[in-house]
């Protein structure tokens, strides 16, 4: 199975306090970059789909693709250090991208790579737009399933059985690949992915608060030698069309109010009723 995993580098959400505004844009000065956590979930799912976890061997192929400046190579190499086989960097400045452009570019990459599946983040931790995956599926004419919590492949790998956890219950869908899938964090739990190769009783370790497996230093060193293609929009024949424009950006107002420490749950319930009026 060949899986394409689009990955964005985002300013570390843990350092949101360092964000500064320059006009209508967020300034990138002094920010630390990390892999978009939602993409990490999908990367982890893709890794589990394409490996024999008990024999610790790779059985499929993952191509990670990022659209961004040269420095985004780091993020791709990080994904390759975790196990992805190849990387594609499409040159693009964040300011020139919106979800539409991203989907346009990814559609061209999909045409070129012909994956069986695109597994991507449901949104990016910076823009939170929640559009690119669905838009990509539309451009490709592929089915799209958002917020997958379980993925199981059929023996021939063509049919996927996918579960989605909804407020009202668990929905199970069957879909004929190729397809675009985005994941919910449930996918990180043990036992959510069945690929017919990893023994059914294999227990993935609990990732705790990690968004994907830790890289191993040997794999990081090996990732140096894995192929990474750098492409321009021209190479892909994309004429980017932005459909939206950022016109303003403000930092959230500082938090007001004071924390109160209460003695008991009863007191909390009472205050939620009488003061906060939320119950």
């Amino acid at each position: 199975m060949k899986v394409l995993v689009p990955i964005k580098r985002v300013a570390d959400p843990a350092n949101a306090n360092k964000v500064k505004v320059a006009g209508s844009e967020v300034s990138h000065d002094g920010l630390e970059w990390v892999m978009n956590p939602f993409d990490e979930w999908s990367l982890e799912a893709a890794l589990r789909l394409t490996e024999d976890a008990s024999a610790k061997t790779r059985t499929g192929e993952i191509v990670v693709v990022s659209i961004g400046p040269k420095a985004a190579v780091d993020t791709l190499r990080e994904a390759m250090g975790k196990g992805a086989e190849r990387g594609v960097l499409v040159d693009g400045e964040d300011t020139a991208l919106d979800s539409n452009v991203v989907a346009q570019i990814l559609a061209k990459v999909v045409e070129k790579e012909q994956p069986d599946l695109v597994l991507m983040g449901k949104q990016s931790a910076d823009g939170d737009s929640n559009i690119a995956g669905t838009k990509l599926a539309e451009l490709l004419g592929w089915p799209v399933i958002n917020y997958a919590s379980h993925i199981e492949t059929s023996d021939d790998g063509k049919t996927l059985t996918i579960k989605r956890e909804l407020d009202v219950g668990v929905q199970t869908l069957k879909v004929q690949g190729p397809a675009v899938i985005t994941c919910s964090d449930r996918i990180l739990k043990p036992g959510t992915i069945k690929n017919g190769v990893t023994p059914a009783d294999f227990e993935y370790p609990d990732l705790g608060d990690l968004n994907s497996r830790l890289s191993n230093l040997k794999n990081i060193m090996a990732a140096r030698k894995k192929p990474l293609d750098e492409l321009g929009l021209g190479d892909l024949g994309v004429e980017p069309v932005r459909v939206d424009e950022y016109v303003g950006f403000e930092l959230p107002a500082g938090r007001s109010g004071q924390a109160q420490f209460l003695e008991s749950v009863d007191e909390l319930v009472q205050k939620l009723q009488s003061e906060a009026k939320v119950l």
Binding site: G81, L217, R224
Partner: protein, 392 residues
């Protein structure tokens, strides 16, 4: 992360990735449990498997299941280990630089095959026995001896003291002077032996009562008529060059490691001083406290650049041992100074296990002494620049 001069830009992608992977591992797995181990005086053996899986053991060696990374990447891994605890870094330094390295550099092919893959997997733990009760700064004077046996093999006798991982080890690298070989080039000179710790006559005694490096096992090794075969002798080196070249590897790791401890102390002090209000404002707003913080960040920045250059020299195969001495001496001295200042800035909280600074401060007292004391490194650099030895 302290990077006042943009050191990041001088690193390669894989170097940054190694650093970040180790940092993440340490933050998730080690930081939450380390203070308790330190207090209890225990080494977190439950982490050995994780260290191996991460690829930390013998990470800069090629082959035998090792990660084969460059010296700077390796140094950054040491930095992240020691950002958490010097004892944990010591475990990895001893396993990789002091035990796997000599086998890799001086061992026979059979010895490499026998020991290295298991050591990289963390299934075989090593310790390095050079120091003796009466020979610390002057290991050349060692009295541990290996007498050649008529039927082949050697009989070892002696005591080694202050041996990290001594009670955890499956194999001890014992440096001893050989006698009775009939070979003038070898008799009376130091050789390295791979001694399985289950061999009859070998005992390890844990040294308790330390106030430093408490999350690390330190032991005394007693060898009483320990008989080993010819295959225990590492054939590739004769004389003090053997142990000293291991020390160069480990000291290089320490140069980076203590930067990690210093960064942890500085970052803790910086954030504490911005939150802690005394008199009219946060203490970070007072000039005296700022002077301390500025001194800390200056020394960290200088050490980072010094050590990066050292690493690049080492990668190019051009580093002189005295250059490693200069950096070990400088970096440990300032890391210890920074830990003490951080301890001061935290006031009463500085002496509590809730914050890492007191633990780093105590740990760094060991690092100041082991792998060549501060003053011994002064003498090494002094000899290098003057041509005059001042040891004896």
């Amino acid at each position: 992360m302290v990077d006042y001069y943009g050191l990041d830009e001088e690193l390669t992608t894989d170097e940054r990735q190694v650093r970040d992977a180790v940092r993440r591992y340490m933050d998730v797995k080690v930081r939450p449990i380390i203070a308790k181990h330190y207090q209890d005086g225990t080494f977190p053996t439950e982490l050995i498997g994780g260290f191996a899986e991460l690829g930390l053991l013998g990470a800069n060696l090629e082959g035998y299941g090792c990660a084969g990374m460059g010296d700077v990447a390796y140094g950054l891994a040491m930095q992240e280990l020691e950002r958490c605890d010097s004892g944990v870094r010591s475990f990895c330094s001893v396993q990789g630089s002091l035990c796997m390295y000599p086998i890799w550099a001086f061992g026979s092919d059979a010895q490499k095959e026998r020991w290295l893959p298991g050591m990289a997997r963390g299934e075989i733990i090593g310790c390095f026995g050079l120091t003796e009760p009466d020979f610390g700064s002057n290991p050349t004077g060692m009295v541990t001896r290996a007498d050649k046996l008529p039927g082949g093999g050697y009989r070892l006798n002696g005591t080694k003291r202050w041996i990290t991982n001594g009670n955890l080890a499956h194999v001890a690298i014992v440096w001893a002077k050989v006698y009775g070989t009939g070979d003038e080039a070898r008799d009376g000179r130091v050789h390295g032996f791979l001694v399985p710790t289950e061999t009859a006559g070998f005992t390890a005694q844990k040294l308790d009562g330390k106030f430093s490096l408490r999350a690390s096992v330190t032991s005394e090794l007693i060898l009483e008529d320990v008989e080993v075969g010819e295959d225990a002798l590492m054939p590739g080196v004769v004389g003090m060059r053997g142990p000293l070249s291991c020390l160069s590897q480990a000291r290089y790791g320490i140069c980076w490691g203590v930067i990690g401890a210093a960064i942890d102390c500085y970052e803790t002090a910086l954030s504490y001083s911005k939150d802690r209000v005394q008199f009219s404002r946060p203490i970070a707003g007072y000039q005296l406290v700022q002077a301390k913080l500025v001194h800390m960040v200056s020394e960290i920045t200088k050490a980072q650049w010094l050590t990066l250059r050292l690493g690049r020299l080492k990668e190019a195969g051009r580093v002189k041992p005295a250059q490693i001495s200069l950096a070990k001496r400088n970096n440990v001295h300032h890391a210890l100074e920074i830990a003490r200042i951080a301890r001061d800035i935290l006031g009463g909280n500085g002496i509590m296990y809730d914050y890492p600074v007191g633990r780093h401060m105590m740990n760094l007292e060991t690092v100041y002494t082991y792998e060549g004391t501060h003053d011994i490194h002064t003498l090494i650099v002094g000899q290098d620049i003057t041509g005059l030895a001042a040891f004896e």
